[in-house]
Symmetry: C2
Subunit: 281 residues, 2 copies
């Protein structure tokens, strides 16, 4: 398959998945209320001050009663990488052109008994082509039922593609979502993969599609399971403190955040992952 | 003067100033209430898992009705610098020993019409000895009266020591407290200096003492001026959003935070500067 076709297909998928996620999350948000809430969408262009087209994206954000703040972003960006940044991406030795398309979701829930969820997948083209992404969840209060459901669904999905994927990618996730200054994990893990470029582009693409569908399915089920659970003000306070750790991770360590801030990305889209309210005591 | 005497004098000053600040802030906090609030103090040791004495410090924190969260920390730490960290400190070519003593204050105010205040001063000894520190303030809503009072007091104090200090150090402050990803200043500036090692240690020490006294004086006056000003919930929301920027600065750029996190500092003391509540929309 030609590269332009691969790009077309992946970009199309990320948009389709975005629509599926938005529809499903709106359904969850609106099932018990008469005044329906909708995601607000906003388009943005990369480097709008330049005449050249550098791509852009579309943010979608919802502030609701179930989802305190959930953002679903898609973007397709391209152009030439800065010298400093080339070392971070394979396949840029001879040519500094890149193309990247992806989807990214962060959901901070009202109910402190529900974890926050994070997911993204992307395809990147330099002189190589590869996929990356993953999903993880961050509870305020440990819940073994949620954790088991999350991981077993992910494992089943992974096993259909490659028996090593779950082991390798969940390990990578645990290593990545770690706060060294606090010597603590960000949350309950999940999977994370990068530079996925096996012998079959179709296989890697199908895996990336399944990661997205699995995320939507398992997260919807965990939310539906406990969205009506009663909580008190002190539980909300605990959630805000946990979110402080989330903010620390994103600003101190997250590669995506750094990548975005250093490459003139859209600030609102990059920092969409930040919690709606955080506390430090 | 011998170095041990310089260290003794500076350490003593930082503690005296800490006591003065605590007394004055408690006076402000308690002037109109019957149930008096006090700073809670907590000692900590650096690298408590090692047998060797590496110094430590004392945190003091107050959650009040005027001061939503104010921390006043002193510390005196010493030992041997890691290889990676030596390049950050002058005078460590032949010898990796260091000694550092200082005071650090961050005040986040309840009233959104009052700015947050930040101050620190320190003396550091390697094979050289120098002073550093400064103060700055970050309003949610522009207030030219506060800004003028803050800067004119600092300038008068600086001018008694060196006619270039205010110009040089306020410029350094503006450059330092800047958020490149948002292309905005953190706040209203102030002064910041480092590696201050003029011909006279006594002169540098006296300047550093005056910076501390000036901070306490001008900040107390700004707070007293507007602490009773009425505000509404939406102003508090604005303050929380501004505090999100403050958190971004501290975690993305602040050298002190990075220094602390990379040198096994006390997490609670390092992150004392974080706002009590922050919002991202």
């Amino acid at each position: 398959m030609k590269n332009f076709k691969k790009k077309e297909l992946s970009k199309k998928w990320f948009k389709l998945l975005r629509n599926q996620i938005i529809n499903e999350f709106e359904k969850i948000e609106n099932q018990n209320i008469s005044k329906k809430l909708k995601f607000k969408k906003k388009k943005w262009k990369r480097k709008p001050h330049l005449k050249k087209d550098n791509g852009g994206g579309q943010m979608a954000i919802l502030y609701g009663n179930i989802f305190e703040k959930v953002g679903v972003n898609i973007s397709t960006v391209y152009g030439s990488l800065s010298h400093d940044f080339k070392k971070n991406l394979p396949g840029t030795n001879k040519n500094s052109n890149f193309w990247a398309s992806g989807i990214s979701v962060v959901a901070h829930m009202q109910n402190p008994y529900l974890p926050s969820f994070h997911f993204n997948t992307r395809m990147i083209e330099t002189s190589k082509i590869w996929f990356g992404g993953g999903m993880d969840m961050t509870p305020t209060f440990k819940n073994s039922k949620h954790k088991k459901m999350f991981h077993s669904n992910i494992k089943n999905m992974c096993d259909k593609h490659n028996k090593n994927y779950y082991k390798d990618f969940s390990k990578y996730c645990d290593e990545y979502f770690y706060l060294p200054h606090r010597r603590e994990a960000r949350g309950d893990g999940g999977i994370f993969y990068d530079y996925l470029d096996s012998s079959s582009w179709e296989g890697d693409f199908n895996f990336t599609k399944d990661v997205g569908s699995c995320f939507l399915d398992v997260v919807s089920r965990i939310i539906s399971m406990d969205m009506s659970k009663k909580w008190k003000k002190e539980h909300k306070e605990q959630q805000k403190i946990k979110r402080g750790r989330y903010a620390e991770f994103n600003l101190l360590y997250d590669r995506g955040t750094k990548f975005g801030l250093q490459t003139d990305g859209n600030i609102d889209a990059i920092l969409m992952s930040m919690p709606p309210e955080a506390k430090w005591i």
